[in-house]
């Protein structure tokens, strides 16, 4: 059965909005719970940004749900005055899939971390992305296990000395963006806790996207992996390292004479070269809507643990049918006249082969 899903709408289409003129503020989204992250944790900044940004969506608060797994970041739902579920380790995408599929009137968010999403919950993450369930997934990446007090995570670099790797990690890390693109995620972005403006812009685009949006957020853990992203936060050095992803623009780091851009070599590989003197024909123009994810993937591979070049921004933002819309369309198509009647239920129970016994005979044992 082919079902016409029409043009993909916004990620929040179908979610009840506030009446015109009504406004919400950050306070409306702040719960009465005391926030219990460590002082200096990057999670505070992200929480602040999310609480400030949510009113802009103009959605009814009761139609927003945050689902999280386990880990420091997964305490997030408690601090938002929306509906929320703090679930179990790694399973938030699965739980959110069931919720989003059965409730098109909800804006469903998943909050997860590098351990939660990429280690114990890796399977659920890739399948949510593959299916393209209408979810916005915020993956806080601090490259460490925080809540269990300092073991290496699936994003820790080789050689990382942690409580469980005193001689250095020998474990190859995941690049979450590459992983998501490999799973054919329709929206993939990276941002950083310290850049609130960029963070908010990315969140807005992610919420607007219909389908699974994966937002990797670099987040500092001041206790177990402090300064993991400091090289990106330094005003000069950081700007030289961050490759800004802007749709329709060259992918550029730094400014003026020292600016560097991404070019495609004769062998097809991407590299980062000084903008001055670069052959304009080789300079890559970023295209978030490219149907083929391979360019976005190649861009994601420019990153390495030395963080010499770190692409930041939206890697990919394409429209493709979502799982939940498809499932609901099939259910709706099966019942064009609304919910089944009692008579239809009885017909189902009867099936095709029935026989009738007349009169009451001796009772059955």
């Amino acid at each position: 059965m082919s079902i016409d899903l029409g043009m993909p709408a916004s990620g929040v289409a179908g979610v009840p909005r506030l009446p015109d003129g009504d406004k919400q503020t950050k306070r409306d989204f702040t719960s009465d719970q005391e926030v219990r992250w460590c002082p200096g944790c990057g999670d505070y900044i992200i929480l602040n940004a999310v609480q400030s940004f949510l009113p802009d969506l103009g959605l009814r608060r009761e139609n927003i749900v945050f689902v999280s797994g386990i880990g420091c970041s997964s305490r997030f739902p408690y601090y938002l005055d929306t509906y929320g579920m703090h679930s179990i380790h790694g399973r938030a995408p699965a739980i959110a899939t069931g919720l989003a599929t059965s409730r098109p009137d909800l804006s469903v968010w998943v909050v997860t971390g590098d351990g939660d999403a990429l280690s114990i919950g890796g399977n659920h993450l890739i399948h949510a992305l593959r299916r393209n369930v209408n979810l916005t997934i915020l993956l806080f990446n601090n490259k460490i296990y925080g809540l269990t007090k300092g073991q290496y995570s699936p994003t820790s670099e080789i050689g990382a000395v942690t409580k469980s790797t005193p001689a250095g990690s020998v474990d190859q890390p995941f690049n979450p963006v590459s992983l998501a693109l490999g799973a054919e995620a329709s929206f993939v972005a990276r941002t950083m806790d310290s850049d609130r403006t960029h963070l908010t812009e990315v969140l807005r685009a992610a919420a607007e996207h219909r389908g699974s949006s994966l937002v990797e957020i670099y987040q500092n853990c001041p206790i177990f992996n402090d300064g993991a992203f400091d090289v990106l936060k330094d005003s000069e050095d950081g700007q030289a390292r961050i490759l800004h992803l802007t749709d329709g623009e060259p992918i550029r780091a730094g400014e003026g004479d020292t600016a560097r851009v991404v070019v495609r070599g004769a062998d097809g590989n991407l590299s980062v070269v000084p903008e001055k003197g670069a052959d304009p024909a080789t300079v890559v123009t970023h295209d978030v809507a490219a149907a083929d994810p391979s360019l976005a993937f190649a861009i994601s591979r420019l990153d390495d643990p030395s963080m010499a070049h770190v692409p930041m921004g939206i890697f990919r933002n394409v429209d493709r049918p979502t799982y939940d819309d498809g499932v609901r369309a099939q259910v709706a198509a099966a019942s064009p006249d609304g919910p089944a009647t009692d008579a239809e239920l009885m017909e189902l129970l009867h099936g095709k082969d029935t026989w009738t016994v007349e009169g009451s005979m001796e009772p059955r044992a």
Binding site: Q33, H86, R91, T97, P339, D353, T356
Partner: protein, 623 residues
Amino acid sequence: MSTLKNIDSVVIRFAGDSGDGMQLTGDRFTSDSAVLGNDLSTLPNFPAEIRAPQGTLPGVSSFQVHFADHSVLTPGDAPDVLVAMNPAALKANLGDLPRGATIIVNTDEFTKRNLSKVGYAESPLDDGSLESWQVHPVPLTSITVEALADFDLGRKDKERAKNMFALGLLSWMYTRPLDGTRAFLATKFAKLPDILEANLAALRAGHAYGETTEAFSVQYAVAPAPMDSGTYRNITGNVATAYGLTTAAHRAGLPLVLGSYPITPASDLLHNLSKLKHFGVTTIQAEDEIAAIGSALGASFGGAIGVTTTSGPGLALKSETIGLAVSLELPLVVIDVQRGGPSTGLPTKTEQADLLQAMFGRNGESPVAVIAASSPSDCFDAAIEAVRIATTYRTPVILLTDGYLANGSQPWRLPSLDELPSVDVEFATEPNATDAKGKPVFHPYVRDEQTLARAWAVPGTPGLEHRVGGIEKADGSGEISYDPANHDTMVRLRQAKIDGIEVPDLEVDDPGGDAKLLVLGWGSTYGPIAAATRLARATGAKVARAHLRNLAPMPANLGEVLRSYDRVVLPEMNLGQLALLLRAEYLVDIQSHTAVRGLPFTAVELAAVINEHLEVLHEGSRA
């Protein structure tokens, strides 16, 4: 000319290679018998391999049907008739066949090669080893091919119709009408007119073969069984479970969301429910068992009836999420179609060894409601009951069925609409508490005094925004709490809620009222135990019988019932799991009788067990 003989019951086993279509043949024969008004019970038995090497013992698939002019409780202990499509089918089933039984063999398959595959040095058809049975050698394959000589089909396609020939022959022997099968074939092969015609011709040829050859001198008739008046259909346990879930959701007026991962023998639940979209049923085939139950729980959080279906290994994977549902106190229905374990075990065989897993297989004090269906058609009522308990008490409910119930079938008297139980679900719509400043607020863990169910507010309800999670919650407010006394309170409250679920008292079947021996059972042993009790009583034995549906909580009168008999015997298809629980809970010296062969008990076997225990009582009273 054959003579017509009336008999009261017969057990027929169709056996052949996995690819021979024996399940379909048995199924059709069953439907035709049901329509005639016989009571019946069936037992499919097939290998886990889809197509094991042809002609080998591991590849044998069989379907047994017991039909009678009286009420039938089991698929029959031993076949009266074996249809063996090849040497492997003969060898694999001969041991179950009492002397004097009828064997119909497909002689075409008794080639040197096929015989040696199963270790026959000489053909048992020629060496006199089958003398004790009535053997009817029929070249089923070649006659079928001959009957289809005029069809423009390849030899393989012609040979494949041999199961319809066998069905035609058996239908003649037992005076079954062919109309039902004709209609079935017309639907099944609507788009393949050649194949349809070939199958119909093979069916006719089989029937004519019985009528015209001298080989079969007797035709048998089995009169309709006396049954309560009403409209009946034949139903398997998996279909009944799917329909029960759908009916419960329909009665509750809520969508049903199934999260499932394929696993034998539960996959048919997913298949059946995925066809019921017009009843508001959504099915999600998840990436694994954990995601399956996760998506069901997510749907429950959103106010749907969340269901997950699985078998033992899958239940193990779902444990942590069931624990979360216990903590969240949300409705969730978990169906475990039990199979032989541990680990992969015996995927296509039946067992009852997941009881303790269902009761306790989670971390922490994590009580859930557990119920078990007793027959294929009881799966319908049990599924409705599971949904009713889950929604009324906001708790996970584990419904235990098993491979025998799932694939076995029996006639089911269809309930009328007003016989169906109602399932009423109430969502919170208003604040139920006030905060320190006197402002009305919603506290998700405020409980109903009667049921101890917590208030259930679904997302989208304005003003009742709240957070729930797996961390311990403060009684009432639901806020995170690490307070020692509060944890003690909450652990006891969750247990008290399960203990307080209203379940009917255990009914005892004790016609004389003076039996000293009670046979207790649970789940799919209902049929064999009831049949065994009937056998024992027929010889004058005094024995009482009772069957448990509610395993958590157990009926309030259970202890009293157990203590009122001198001896209690409990047959189980495990190593005594319920016996362990009853001994611990009620301090009664339960006599456990166990077998884990992957097959249901036979009535004769259990009747012998009953007599042994009666003998012990008798000895005791003499001593």
